[in-house]
Every structure is written in C-alpha cells, then in structure tokens.
C-alpha cells in the first residue's frame, strides 16, 4: 500500500532530503538557543521577524513546506535520533545560563500541558478551561504526599497523575450534560472551584501554599545539586531539564499513538459531527469523558514535576489564566498537530519573558505578535494533517 500516500512523494535525491532534515532541525535548535540567550530587545525583534518570514515563506510556497514534510516522513528515524541528540546536547550549549535552562523547563512543562489539552480541544473540540486546575491538582497531590507522608517523587508522580485523572472524570461526567459554550462554562467553574478550595482549605496551606517540597533523588543524586556529565558541570536546573524532556517525549508518544488509533479517529469524528458519530456506533459520551481523563492524567504529571522543581506552590500558580494560556498555545500552534502544539507552547512561554524590555507594554506586544502570526497562518502555525495507513 506504499502508493497510497496522502503526501506528495519525495522524489528528490535521498541525500538532499536527509540533509534537509538535518538542516531544518539544527536551524530550529540554533534559533531556540539564540532566542533563549539574547537579551537585547532589538535582537529579539529581529529573531521574531525571522520567524515571521519563515512562516510567510511556508504559507506562500506550499511546495517548500510539502518538500520538508516529505523529507521528514522519509527519514523519520534520522529525524528522531537527531532530535533526541539535540535535546540531550542542548543544555551544554547554553553557556551555563540557568535562566535559559529554567525557561526550557517551564516551556517543556507547558508543552506537556498543551499536548494534554490538545486531546480535547484539538482532537475532540471540547473547550476545556480546566487544564490549569488539573495541573494544580497534580502539583498539590504530589506535594502533599511528599510533605505529609514522606513519599518519594517517583512514587508521587504516578499517584498524583491518578488523582488528577479521577478529578478529570468527576469534571467530565457533569460536563456531558452540556455542550459548546455551556460546556466551557462548566469547566471554567470547575477551575474556579479548585482554585478557591486550594486558597481556603487548611491542609493545602491556604493562599500561602505549600513550602519546602524536597527535591527528587535518583540513585543518591539529588536534583538540587549540579549535574556532572562527562566532566562538564551543568546547573541543577539541568536535572529537571532532562526530566521534563523525558515527560515531553512520553507525551508525544501518547499523543501520536492515540491520534493514529481508533480512539483518535472517534474523537475526530465527534469533533465534526456528534450525531453522525453516534450513528457510526461511537459512544460519544464515553469518548468525551475519556478525553477529560487523558488530559488530566498528563496535566497531573506536569504538575508534579513543577511542584518538585520550584519546591514551592501556591494557588496563584494554577489560576484560570493558566488554562487560557494553555488553550492559546493549542490554538495558535495548530489544533491536532503535535509539532504545532509544542511550538505554540514554547513560543507563548518564551515571548513574554523575552519582551520584558517593553515593561508595561509587554502583554500588549505579546498579544500583537500572536495575532500577526495567526494572520499569516490562520490555521495555526502547523495545521492538522490527514492520516496515512499501511506503513
């Protein structure tokens, strides 16, 4: 069934397409490195213009985009290995800049959250404004376990994810009685309720939150101490960098496998037409609740890593605004496209940080940038792709 490709066949020289893959990946990594390290606002604007120009080029010359895509499809193994190598090597080229590493960790956690929400918003078009709440539930559940019962990070991680999933189910069930805007309202209410509970309950520490969450340990190595690899010393943030990178990888595997499965198809079906989906034998209610659960599961993971990373959490880390930001990442990055969602998460995490030079106008500039990018690519930076079979 090799001829049944939805994508145009890559007929060019295999060496050329392999080089294309390598060049695109290295360029992406270089771009991210420069963007993380520069401070001068003029350079920031320059890089953003460069990014905008790349988007315009992709939009204007679809054949170029198709060619890059075909090259990646052809050399998927090379792309994967090189991608892993780049991610592993990346902290070494950041010149020991702890702030840049910190931004990487936060971006990756947001990438996980955006991938989690993408199951709902992107695959099934469920406007869930409670991902921030699931993130908070994961963070609080693991922190409480660690502080009160001395549970280690590695055990707290899955337990917190399960707790968040249970809450995801609890939110999913009443949500099924509503749809569209009303569904969004239910999820907003859930997020507010969770925030209020965290703020007012005794055992969650109220507005002061939880302090002194111990850093995780692995084989006697504390994540609070610097990481030494091949005689190179990396700041302690590097521990969490690799941990979050692993979580992003797991999330990508989850997302890809679900997207390419019967479950992903069922979600896509009910996204377009619920009634038609029911008439193909899809239990629409069940699949929607399932999307809530998967979203909460991954968000719970991200929350745990966040709690143990910063060591201090308060209700204000998990407000309604966090949920809105995650939603923007999915929409701006590209609904139901894994790469798009990750790029969206990085862009929207890094932009406000890099625009600090504009002080008061920071958020305004941030908004304008996102709008401009969306004007260039209305379907999101990387729109949804059709599936292929038989490979």
């Amino acid at each position: 069934m090799a001829e049944s490709l939805a994508l145009p066949r890559d007929t060019s020289n295999p060496v050329v397409s392999a080089l294309t893959v390598i060049a695109v990946q290295l360029a992406g990594a270089l771009f991210l490195r420069q963007f993380l390290l520069i401070d001068d606002w003029r350079l920031v604007i320059g890089l953003l213009l460069l990014f905008g120009a790349a988007l315009v080029l992709m939009e204007r010359v679809p054949s170029l985009e198709a060619r890059v895509e075909a090259a990646f499809a052809r050399h998927s193994r090379l792309a994967l290995l090189l991608g892993i190598a780049i991610v592993l090597a990346f902290p070494f080229v950041l010149e020991g800049n702890t702030y840049a590493l910190h931004l990487c960790v936060i971006s990756m956690l947001y990438a996980v959250l955006a991938l989690a929400l993408n199951f709902q918003l992107g695959s099934a078009n469920i406007p869930n404004f409670a991902t921030g709440a699931s993130y908070g539930i994961g963070a609080y559940a693991s922190a409480l376990l660690a502080l009160n019962f001395g549970v280690s990070f590695w055990l707290a991680l899955p337990v917190a994810a399960v707790v968040a999933t249970i809450f995801g189910f609890l939110l999913g069930i009443p949500s099924m009685r509503t749809r569209d805007s009303y569904l969004a309202l239910v999820t907003i209410a859930f997020g507010v309720v969770i925030h209020q509970l965290l703020n007012n309950l005794e055992f969650t520490g109220g507005p002061n939150g939880l302090v002194g969450i111990p850093a995780p340990e692995l084989f006697g190595h504390s994540f609070a101490s610097p990481l030494v690899i091949f005689g190179q010393e990396l700041p302690s943030q590097a521990n969490f960098y690799y941990l979050s990178a692993l979580l992003v990888l797991i999330s990508i595997v989850f997302a890809r496998r679900l997207h390419d499965s019967r479950v992903g198809l069922a979600w896509n079906a009910l996204r377009t037409d619920e009634l038609a989906a029911r008439c193909q034998g899809i239990n629409v209610t069940w699949y929607k609740v399932l999307a809530f659960a998967v979203d909460a599961f991954l968000a719970g993971f991200a929350g745990t890593i966040y709690a143990f990373y910063v060591g201090f959490i308060s209700p204000d880390n998990f407000t309604f605004l966090v949920s809105v930001t995650i939603m923007t990442m999915v929409i701006a990055g590209g609904m139901d496209n894994i790469l798009g969602v990750i790029v969206g998460a990085f862009l929207l995490t890094l932009l406000p940080e890099k625009l600090r030079a504009f002080s008061d106008y920071r958020i305004l500039f941030f908004g304008v940038t996102v709008i401009v990018f969306l004007m260039i690519r209305p379907q999101g930076l990387f729109p949804q792709r059709l599936r292929r079979y038989g490979h």
Partner: protein
C-alpha cells in the same frame, strides 16, 4: 436469494407514536421490512418520514409503540448500540466528517467492528495498529466496490467531494458497519437526473452484492421511487396512508395530490 415471498421480516415497527409536547409527529404507524427488501417511503414535507428514521436509529425514543430488529425490541437502546446491532443510516443533508480523508470516514464506519481502546493504543500498539490497518484495508475494498471514482479520491478530505460523491461516501460509510438494514434519507436530494441515475445504479449494485441487506429509502424523486423499491409506504401528517407496490400507490388521489398538485390530480382522476 434476495427478496422472496418467504423472506423473514428483519425490521418491524408497531403502533409507533411520537409526540413532541402537544405536537403529534407520528401516530400509530406500523411497518415491516423483509430481508433483502427495498422499501420506499414517500410523503410531503413534515409527514414524519425523518421522524420514523430517527425513531428506528434510536435518536428519538417513541412515545409509544415499539421497533423490533429480528424480534428484539430496540426502544431505549442508545443510538450507538443500535448501529452495532445492524442498522445503519445516511442523512438527508450529508453529514460527513469533512476534515478527515474519505478513507478515514469509512474507517470510522468500522468502529463497531474494532475494539482498541486508550490502553491498547498506547501500550499494545502493534495490536491496535494491526486492527486499524485491517479496518483500512476493509475500507479500501468497500470503497472500490461502491465506486471506483470515490476510491481514487480516498486520500482527499471528504469535505472537498462533489455532491454525488458525498452521497456515495455516506452510503459506503454506512455499509462499513456491516448492517442488516440500511436507511437512506433522501439520497438523491440536490442531484440532477444524471447523478440520480448513477446513484440508482450504485444502489442496485450494492444490493446485488448483498442480497440479504434490507433497505429503507426516503425519497421525493418519483423516478427513483418508481423503479427501485419493491414496495412503497406513504406517510401523511404522521400517519400511514398506504403501503404497497408503486403501481397501486400512484393511483391513490392523496398521493397524486401531494406529488402532482391538486389540479393535476383532479385532471388525472377525471
């Protein structure tokens, strides 16, 4: 094979009544459908044709009366389970999954014949993938048998198809569920005569390949109603007006009135 005098009844409705508040959309309608039979349903707008389809497919629960598939009661069974039991349908205004490929649309029709859940998809990928690939292969064969032209367009988004191909795809998607009964809601609406002729040929071919499949077709196009169904049921104001071969039905004054207009009907009667 096909329809014979001794063919068993596969689907039947008894005293079907549907009330929406004070409005009676359907009153005491009874029908039977035999294995391999094609039943046409005609009637003016608002006669209750689509209501009947919605009752059979579980979208509406009838206020009273019951529907039985091979003797088993269907009332209250949710829509998605009714599909699994063997009743598939198409929609009057085509309701395809427009942003998915033609092939994906048909694969979704295999939903009730596949099992992989979230756990399988993530941790037993080989199994889930093999199942989905088998569904894709099945869908390809099915598309090819329904229409070669459609099969050639299988990687296009369904939303880009021409009207006639959209209808064919809806039929292919419904057939993918391996139904015992297929319900078509105005398959020829919005088509010109040439497209309708091609559609009728396709439906005949589908029936020839599946002699046991029972069909219920809601139609307004009298050319289709005259030639395709074995039997025609007339609905009017939510009630059954008549039920019989087209040759008998067309003589009924109320039918002529509805389809030819009052004057022409009087003229025909005179």
């Amino acid at each position: 094979m096909g329809l014979t005098a001794s063919s068993p009844v596969v689907l039947e409705g008894e005293n079907l009544t549907m009330r929406f508040g004070g409005l009676v959309a359907m009153a005491e309608v009874a029908f039977t459908l035999k294995r391999g039979e094609i039943l046409g349903i005609i009637g003016p707008n608002g006669a209750g044709k689509s209501t009947l389809l919605n009752i059979i497919t579980g979208i509406y629960i009838p206020s009273s009366g019951e529907v039985r598939l091979e003797g088993e009661r269907l009332n209250g069974v949710p829509a998605h389970k009714i599909v699994a039991r063997g009743i598939a349908r198409t929609f009057q205004s085509s309701r395809l999954f427009g942003d998915l490929s033609v092939l994906d649309n048909v694969i979704i029709g295999r939903h009730t014949h596949t099992k992989a859940g979230v756990f399988d998809a993530i941790f037993r990928r080989g199994r889930a993938k093999a199942e989905l690939d088998a569904a894709a292969a099945h869908a390809e064969t099915l598309l090819k048998s329904v229409s070669r032209g459609l099969h050639e367009q299988r990687h296009r988004p369904a939303g880009e198809l021409a009207q006639a191909d959209r209808r064919r795809l809806e039929i292919a998607r419904a057939l993918a569920t391996d139904p015992k009964v297929l319900l078509l809601d105005e398959p020829s609406s919005g088509m010109d005569d040439a497209d309708t002729d091609a559609l009728m040929d396709d439906i005949r071919a589908v029936c020839a390949q599946r002699p046991d499949l029972a069909l219920m077709i809601i139609e307004h196009d009298m050319r289709l109603v005259a030639s395709l169904p074995h039997r025609v049921m007339v609905l009017d104001y939510g009630q059954k007006l008549a039920d019989g071969p087209y040759e008998e039905i067309r003589k009924i004054p109320r039918v002529q009135e509805a389809y030819l207009g009052r004057k022409a009907a009087q003229h025909a009667g005179a």
